[in-house]
C-alpha cells in the first residue's frame, strides 16, 4: 500500500485530501503513478496533469522519474505560497 496526499487547490479540485491504495505492479515511478491516476477522469487529468505541480516522496521533493516503493507517502501540491 502507498499513502497519497493532495494539498491546497489540488485537494479542492480532486475533492480528496488523502487516500491509500495498492500499487499496481507495473507502476514504479511518480510519473507513472500520476498518469495512472489521471485515467480516473477528466477532473483528475486536468488537476494532476498541471505541469506546475510538485511531488514529494516521504516528505522530500522529488523529480517525476523518482522511484516509488511500497509503504511510501506520495504527495502532490501546487507551488508553495507561504511567508
Amino acid at each position: 500500500m502507498v499513502q497519497l496526499r493532495y494539498f491546497a487547490s489540488l485537494r479542492e479540485a480532486l475533492g480528496i485530501g488523502e487516500e491509500q491504495l495498492a500499487l499496481p505492479d507495473n507502476i514504479t515511478t511518480v510519473a507513472q503513478l500520476s498518469a495512472w491516476l489521471q485515467t480516473r477522469g477528466t477532473d483528475w487529468q486536468q488537476a494532476l496533469g498541471d505541469p506546475r505541480l510538485h511531488t514529494a516522496i516521504n516528505q522530500a521533493v522529488v523529480r517525476p522519474d523518482a522511484r516509488i516503493h511500497d509503504g511510501d507517502e506520495i504527495a502532490w501540491f501546487p507551488p508553495v505560497t507561504g511567508g
Binding site: R5, F7, A8, S9, E12, R52, A56, Q59, A60, V61, A75, F77, P78, P79, V80, T81, G82, G83
Partner: protein
C-alpha cells in the same frame, strides 16, 4: 528553533529568549516579521487561511535553519510560521538570526525568509469580495 503554530507569537519575547540562549556568544541579532496585507493583486483581502503539509513543513524549516546556521556561522536561528485563519495585520511569519557580527545576521534572515517562500509547503487562500481564491506562486 523552528515552530509551526496556529497561535500568534510575540516577537519581543522571541527575541528576548533568543538573546538569553546566546549567553554572550553573539554580537548581533536581526529579525524579520511578515504581516498579512489587506490587499493583494489589486483586490481587498478580508481573511487569509494558511494550509500546510504537517511533517514536511517542519522538516523543510529545520533544514533551512540548519543551513543558515552553518553558512553564516550563526549562534542561533529562529523560524516561526503560523497556519490556519488569519486577518489583515496579523503576524504570519518570523525569522531571526544571532551571530557574531551584523552582516551575517542580516544575510541569514534574508536567506531564511526567501527560501521559506519557495520551498516550505504552505499555501495561502484569500477571502476577497469576489470569493475565495488560492494565491498563485510569485504574487505573495
Amino acid at each position: 528553533m523552528i515552530r509551526v503554530q496556529q497561535a500568534d507569537f510575540d516577537p519581543g519575547l522571541e527575541l528576548e529568549q533568543l538573546r538569553k540562549r546566546c549567553a554572550g556568544r553573539a554580537g548581533a541579532v536581526a529579525s524579520f516579521t511578515g504581516l498579512v496585507r489587506d490587499r493583494n493583486d489589486g483586490t481587498t483581502v478580508s481573511r487569509l487561511t494558511l494550509e500546510h503539509y504537517p511533517g514536511m513543513t517542519e522538516k523543510v524549516l529545520d533544514d533551512i535553519a540548519a543551513h543558515a546556521m552553518t553558512r553564516w556561522e550563526l549562534v542561533d536561528a529562529v523560524i516561526i510560521h503560523r497556519v490556519g485563519p488569519l486577518a489583515p495585520n496579523d503576524r504570519i511569519v518570523f525569522v531571526a538570526a544571532a551571530c557574531a557580527h551584523r552582516n551575517n545576521a542580516f544575510r541569514a534572515c534574508e536567506y531564511m525568509i526567501d527560501v521559506l517562500k519557495t520551498e516550505a509547503p504552505f499555501w495561502k487562500q484569500e477571502e476577497t469580495p469576489h470569493g475565495r481564491r488560492w494565491v498563485e506562486a510569485g504574487e505573495s
